[in-house]
Structures are given as structure tokens and as C-alpha cells.
């Protein structure tokens, strides 16, 4: 199954993925319209820093954009008392119509990847972009200016990680 991964060598912590994610989950799917109409909700992925400075990586530090790992078996699915959180072709999906906001899933997610906001919000792998291909398939991947975000299987991502990055990148970091 295709999932999203972040290459820590390329991520500079710009949070473009967070904004793109939040915008993707608004009715207008437009940054300015959604801000003006107050539609903007929380992002379903977050840039997380390991090291002292979140936006510029400190020596030995790492920044990563993380969201739902679509675990199997998924602790959030086990914890869901309504059946809202469920697996669908390997993806972990929340049927927000069924969600009652008990936050058992929030408590169970070891990655802190579920946001409690009336309903349980999480990465849904951009269902409205199902027709798109390439980097446009996912809003966060499309928005990533350094191509740190990668969509594919972990085996494919491992091949990306095995390739050296150009010297220019090291300088940028």
C-alpha cells in the first residue's frame, strides 16, 4: 500500500505541508478563501523537530513531517467504540459521521497523529485527489518545496534514502 514518508535529509521544517493539508480539508480548497471564511482546520500532519531549533536544524538534529502511519494492526481502530475508525484497503480511515468524539483513538495513537476537533481528524490520504497522479496525488507531497515528502511503499522509500543527496542540499540545511 502507498503511504507517505518524509526524508529527514531534505526536510527543512518549512511547514508548507501543514498548510497544504489544512487547506485541502476545507470546502473551498483555497488558502485565501478558507482563511477569510474561517474554514481552516488543524493540519493532519505536523512538522516535528528533534533538536533545539525547530526551523533550522541544529547540529545532529532532524526535522520531520509526520502524520498517520496507517499502522496494521492499528491501535486507533482497536480503540474505536463506534466503528468509525476502520481499515480500508490497508488505509486507516475515520468515518466522521460515526465518530462521537470520545478520543479513545487519540489516547491510543502512539504518534499523536489524530487531532481531536469535535470529530477525530487524521490523514485520510486526500480522497478528493484520487484522480490525480504523481506528486499532485497528495496535497502535502505536492506542496513540499524540497521534495522531502514521498508517496510510495516503504521499500521504494528505502531506495530514495539509499541515494545520496546532492551537496547543495547539505548547504541549504
Amino acid at each position: 500500500m502507498e503511504r507517505l514518508f518524509c526524508d529527514p535529509r531534505r526536510c527543512v521544517g518549512c511547514r508548507a505541508c501543514e498548510i497544504a493539508c489544512a487547506v485541502e480539508h476545507t470546502p473551498s480548497k483555497d488558502l485565501f478563501v478558507s482563511v477569510l471564511n474561517g474554514e481552516l482546520g488543524p493540519p493532519r500532519r505536523r512538522v516535528q523537530a528533534l533538536g533545539a531549533q525547530p526551523y533550522r536544524v541544529a547540529i545532529g538534529g532532524v526535522v520531520l513531517s509526520l502524520g498517520c502511519h496507517h499502522c496494521d494492526p492499528a491501535p486507533c481502530v482497536d480503540a474505536c467504540i463506534t466503528g468509525a475508525m476502520h481499515k480500508e484497503d490497508g488505509q486507516t480511515v475515520c468515518d466522521t459521521d460515526k465518530c462521537v468524539g470520545c478520543w479513545m483513538c487519540v489516547m491510543s495513537c502512539p504518534y499523536g497523529a489524530i487531532t481531536p476537533k469535535v470529530k477525530a481528524l487524521k490523514c485520510d490520504l486526500c480522497p478528493d485527489r484520487k484522480d490525480k497522479v504523481g506528486r499532485s496525488r497528495y496535497a502535502c507531497v505536492e506542496a513540499c518545496p524540497t521534495e522531502a515528502l514521498f508517496a510510495g511503499t516503504f521499500e521504494e522509500f528505502q531506495r530514495v534514502l539509499a541515494e545520496p543527496i546532492s551537496a547543495g542540499w547539505e548547504g541549504a540545511r
Binding site: 514518508f5 529527514p8 516535528q48 479513545m104 487519540v106 491510543s108 495513537c109 502512539p110
Partner: protein, 441 residues
């Protein structure tokens, strides 16, 4: 010959086991026996009682679940078990042979032994029929008394309040939610209930349910004080349903004792869910954490072992998440020190971290030898941190290096990555291994 799997019970553990069996063995003969006609989510009953959900919204599996998975469902009660013959006897006279049997019989509400408790109008809140019984009485109900200040009792109290009933909660213990919260966080909720018009009485010991055969009139306390009411809801915890074990050699303590493969002491018989006393990660001894997520996981692990795919159960721990009148609370581990059959014991923590940045916001973390053994998060805090704290607690990770930051922890896995990398042998899941590999580049 196709193996025959029989599951007694169709709630969280039973359904999860049935689903797992079918996923891994398309040909197996699977039979689920339940004394309830439909499969619904018990934790949602208080939502149903409050009128927030209709009956059709209580299903946690689609109504055609059994059909779609090719699982035989028998609506009957299991009344006899003969392990030497590998048979289960049902209330409808049927005798089922099994190759592997799962006991997922669950638990039943514990009613206090007070005079008149069997009167009409006294309900638990465990089965759909309990909720339906309470609802049927609502038109004639002005006042209700809830016995017990645990999760179920308080959820019932809040639900009845929303239905316009005047509610008094009578609690034996010195404070509400004594199995879930420490005293100071419990006081926050007692106040919230009072502010929302629900009367809370602690250290209140009921001695009798007053009334006639047809109609209850009130609850009398040891002090002589009487609380008049038209309906009583009992929320004083549950006892594992072990009746089926009578006359068998299946070992039990409080519940059915199971090993790390969720096997009982008798061959080919497994147990999962609220009836099973399985490993508790924090206590290191068999314990019952009668909780939905534990039951689902145990059902799955038991099924894998019934299929002879050796799967070890990591163990459960107490954890709960709930909202009362819009205020969320998450509590996990050995956060309470109230002694009792399911309470904590002194000495389970040696350090407490606490913060109250604003009224009604409260975080407390309990540590023992620099590992987290419990926590309570109340109010408008980033409760996503609960998941991160929980995994640290479950994997027994030494948190000395980030102790100062624990109380400020948000949903920030990044902060924990060094700990995960250092303890990678404890984070065996594929997803964690991928992360460790990724940051190691």
C-alpha cells in the same frame, strides 16, 4: 475436515476474534453464540440514553457483518461446558462441538447488596435492554439516583440530566471516579457536575432501596437520610461472567486466567475481553482491564493463537478517555492509589509531576524509577500527548532524559525519537522500525 471455532460472546472481543479467524482462514467453520440479538457497542449506551444516538447508530459492525463474513450466529445462552467432550450446551438445547473455543462472555454489572435492590426500577447500564428500560420509565421520572461515581455511573448521570431528570449521584468513596482519577483531578469533575445541575454526594453508603414491589420511592443511606427517586441506575463496576466455568478445571482467579497466548489452563479453550485475566504491562501480573480497546486486541490475539499462528499478547493497562459536559479527561496506568479490587496500591509510584497552568486544566504524571506508570490529563490540553505518554509507559521506557519536558509534551513524536531510537528493541512494530531507519539515514 474444516476446524470448527466456537466463540461465546459477540461484543468487542468476540467480534474481533470472529473477524480475525475469517481473515486468516477463509474455510473455517466459525460459530458465534450470543444471548443478545444484535451486536452493539456497550460504551455507546450512555449516548443512546442521552438521546444523542439512535439504536441503529449503536452498531460498531455493519448489520450484515455475520452474513458477509460467513459466520454462523446463534442467538442463545451458553449454559454448559464439557471440555472433556469438547462441547458447549446452549439454552435452546443445542450441543455444539468445538475444535477451539473462545470464552468472550464479558462481564455483568455489580449490584450492591442492599435491601430492595432487586425492585423494579433499578437498572444497570450494560445492555441495550437496560437503557431501553430506563427510557421507558422516563415519562414518569422526575428524579433519579445513580449509585456509584465511576465512569458508567457518571455517564448515566450526565445522560439523564440531558433528558431533563434531576439526578443525584451517591458515591461510597471519598471522591468521584476513584478508579480513574486522583483526588485533585476528581474534584474538578465533581465541580463540573454540580455546575451542570447534577448533585454529587461522596462517602454516601446506601443501605436500602425504598418502595413497593411496583414502584421504587428512594434510596436510604446508612445515616438515615433518604433520597427520593423514580429510577435508580447502578454503576458500581462489573464482575467477569464466569458462570460457564462451573464444574470445569479451567483455572480462574477474579476472571479466567490466561497465559500470554490467551490460553486458559484447559486445552483448546481461550479467553478474551472483560472475562479474561491477562497480563497487565504495568503490574506484571494477571489483571482485568475491562476496556474496549483491550477486548478488541485480546480477541484478535486469541484468534491468531486459535489459528496456531503463535502471537504473544503484550499485555493491557488501564486507560480511559471520556468527556463530561464538554471537558475531556484521559487517564491511564496506575494513576490512582485507592485500594480495592481494581484500584492501585501504595508504592506504585515514587515521583509525581504536576501542572495546573489555568483553572480546570490539569496534568499529572506518575513515575516509578524514572518510567511513567500513570498519567491524568484534564481539560483544554493537547490531549494528543496522551498517545505519546501512553506508548512510553507501555514500553517501559526510561524517561529521565526528558523528564523536564514531560508536562509540556504536545503531540510531538519528534521529541521522543531519540528515546525510540535508543530503545528500538521495544518498538518492534513495522511503523516504528521504519521511523528508526529513516532518522538513522
Amino acid at each position: 475436515m474444516k476446524p470448527r471455532y466456537v466463540i461465546i460472546g459477540a461484543s468487542a472481543a468476540g467480534s474481533s476474534a470472529a473477524e480475525t479467524l475469517r481473515r486468516h482462514d477463509p474455510n473455517a467453520q466459525i460459530t458465534v453464540v450470543s444471548d443478545e440479538k444484535i451486536t452493539y457497542s456497550k460504551p455507546l449506551l450512555s449516548y443512546y440514553l442521552a438521546g444523542k444516538l439512535g439504536e441503529e447508530q449503536l452498531f460498531f459492525r455493519s448489520p450484515d457483518f455475520y452474513e458477509r463474513y460467513g459466520i454462523e450466529k446463534i442467538h442463545a445462552r451458553a449454559v454448559g461446558l464439557r471440555p472433556e467432550k469438547s462441547t458447549v450446551e446452549l439454552s435452546n438445547g443445542q450441543k455444539l462441538h468445538y475444535d477451539k473455543l473462545l470464552l468472550a462472555t464479558g462481564a455483568a454489572p455489580r449490584f450492591p447488596k442492599v435491601e430492595g435492590i432487586q425492585r423494579d426500577g433499578v437498572f444497570g447500564l450494560r445492555k441495550l435492554e437496560d437503557a431501553q428500560g430506563i427510557l421507558a420509565r422516563l415519562p414518569k421520572t422526575k428524579r433519579a439516583v445513580v449509585l456509584g461515581g465511576g465512569l458508567v455511573g457518571l455517564k448515566a448521570a450526565a445522560a439523564l440530566k440531558e433528558r431533563g431528570v434531576a439526578v443525584t449521584v451517591l458515591i461510597d468513596s471519598p471522591h468521584a471516579l476513584s478508579q480513574m482519577l486522583d483526588e485533585s483531578s476528581a474534584r474538578i469533575f465533581e465541580k463540573i457536575f454540580e455546575q451542570n445541575g447534577v448533585a454529587i454526594r461522596t462517602r454516601a453508603k446506601p443501605v436500602a432501596v425504598l418502595g413497593t414491589k411496583e414502584k421504587i420511592e428512594g434510596v436510604q443511606l446508612a445515616s438515615g437520610e433518604v433520597f427520593p427517586c423514580d429510577v435508580i441506575v447502578v454503576g458500581k463496576g462489573v464482575d467477569p461472567s464466569v458462570e460457564l466455568l462451573e464444574g470445569t478445571r479451567i483455572r480462574r482467579d477474579y476472571g479466567v486466567l490466561v497465559d500470554d497466548y490467551l490460553r486458559t489452563s484447559v486445552e483448546n479453550i481461550y479467553a478474551a475481553g472483560d472475562v479474561a485475566q491477562a497480563r497487565d504491562v504495568l503490574r506484571g501480573e494477571p489483571w482485568i482491564n475491562a476496556l474496549w480497546p483491550c477486548a478488541v486486541e485480546q480477541g484478535r490475539v486469541a484468534a491468531l493463537n486459535m489459528l496456531e499462528k503463535k502471537a504473544a499478547y503484550r499485555g493491557s493497562m488501564r486507560m480511559n478517555s471520556v468527556q463530561f459536559f464538554g471537558v475531556p479527561v484521559i487517564s491511564a496506568g496506575l494513576a490512582v492509589l485507592t485500594p480495592g479490587p481494581l484500584g492501585g496500591r501504595p508504592g506504585e509510584h515514587d515521583e509525581t509531576l504536576e501542572s495546573r497552568p489555568a483553572p480546570g486544566i490539569y496534568r499529572k504524571i506518575f513515575l516509578k524509577d524514572d518510567t511513567i506508570v500513570g498519567f491524568v490529563l484534564v481539560g483544554d490540553v493537547p490531549i494528543e500527548a496522551a498517545g505519546v505518554l501512553r506508548i512510553l509507559m507501555e514500553r517501559r521506557v526510561n524517561v529521565a532524559s526528558i523528564k523536564e519536558e514531560l508536562l509540556e509534551l504536545g503531540p510531538d513524536l519528534g521529541r521522543l525519537l531519540p528515546l525510540i531510537v535508543e530503545n528500538k528493541e521495544r518498538f518492534v512494530e513495522r511503523e516504528f522500525q521504519e521511523l528508526v531507519h529513516t532518522v538513522g539515514v
